[in-house]
Symmetry: C2
Subunit: 253 residues, 2 copies
Amino acid sequence: MHGLFSLYIRMRQAIHIVSYQVSSVLYYHHGTPEYIRRDIIGLGRKPTHLSAILKAEENQRPKADLDRLIEETAELAAWCASAEIPMLSIYEKTGILKKHMPRVYEAVMQKFTFYFAGQQPSLLLTSPHKDAYSSPALAGDKHGHLKLHLISTQDGRESIVDLTRTLAEMSQRGKISPRDISMELVDAELSEGIMPEPDLLILFSPNVELSGYPPWQIRLTEIFCLQDNEGFGYQVFLKALRKFAKAQMRNGK
Amino acid sequence: MHGLFSLYIRMRQAIHIVSYQVSSVLYYHHGTPEYIRRDIIGLGRKPTHLSAILKAEENQRPKADLDRLIEETAELAAWCASAEIPMLSIYEKTGILKKHMPRVYEAVMQKFTFYFAGQQPSLLLTSPHKDAYSSPALAGDKHGHLKLHLISTQDGRESIVDLTRTLAEMSQRGKISPRDISMELVDAELSEGIMPEPDLLILFSPNVELSGYPPWQIRLTEIFCLQDNEGFGYQVFLKALRKFAKAQMRNGK
């Protein structure tokens, strides 16, 4: 029985790996916004706020790994801009992306130039408690707009504890009554201070593990990962959007 | 292209549904703890705290739906007891299970009698801020022990807001200094007051959506659902445990 089961698992993994390879060949048009738009156009609904978890790899040279993370961020940003998804938040646990905001900004702008060649959307790059980087809006935003938001483990549990401490201090000083601390207040503070709740969260790992992702903000978020998939790729992005659109039909939301 | 993709999806769904049916036939031994133990025995690690999300169905008659939820709870409890998983927490959004603790207790005890016939483990049924139901330990707990914990949407975001309000009140009255509000304090209060973090969370739906599940408690939890699976069943439980054991080998945790 166990042997049969192992055989099934290995076959499934092989089939998945081959089918992901085939997908990457069939959908090899990352650099062409028109093709991405065509992939998306039939879908019943799109997320207005997409989120993704990217992972630093411990066994890599830190510099090469940072380059990879920045490249993946820029690709994702270009896919979202092509699909006209207005907000993308990227969670990277250690915060290394947040530390290199100018480099991330440059990389995304370069990628936009490569994808859109003069027709690029404008970009706003933000991170909690940091200054934003904003590109000049080209010809009145007619090419769209992407807000890219970088978050880390700090913006998860820690931000909830920080808010609790702040509200306790305000109560101590008589600036707020504890009775006024409500769901709405906490939700508004965390939504504005950290980020609002995403509609769809994509993982590029084969397992769903949130690894310290901001917990408050995922009450109704749909979380997607692809079975047996180990890496970053356009097919994960596309399948996630398709499943998101399908879930609407099923739930009748 | 889209036609091909639809065909692939339909084929995959058909294959999955057939393979789940075959699994349920192959693994039709829910009533036999020895068989469940044999399914589990080769696994490298087991969760010590397993959690599951069960869903009330809106279109069902409420009474029939409650009966189904209680039956599923009892089955899950028996599987966990057979697999020697010491803690099971069940999240049901609306809180209807928590409202019927005596009935849940009776149903689980009956199921234990059916499964274990005189050799049954002892049961402790708990829920936040409620009295516990405890079965007499039979012959010094030599048959094992299961803690079954029922939670609802109240125990999620609301419990975080309640804790914030309580800590603010204590600060106002000078019973605690806001500086003493730390990650450790909040974590300890939510772990003890609501529940500790589970190792593995199982959903019986085809999508991962947490639907208000306690957010604080899932930082490192592995979350499992089965593609295309729509219902409650032993094969989901078994596949989740197998994937959990496999994830350890891969991550080298």
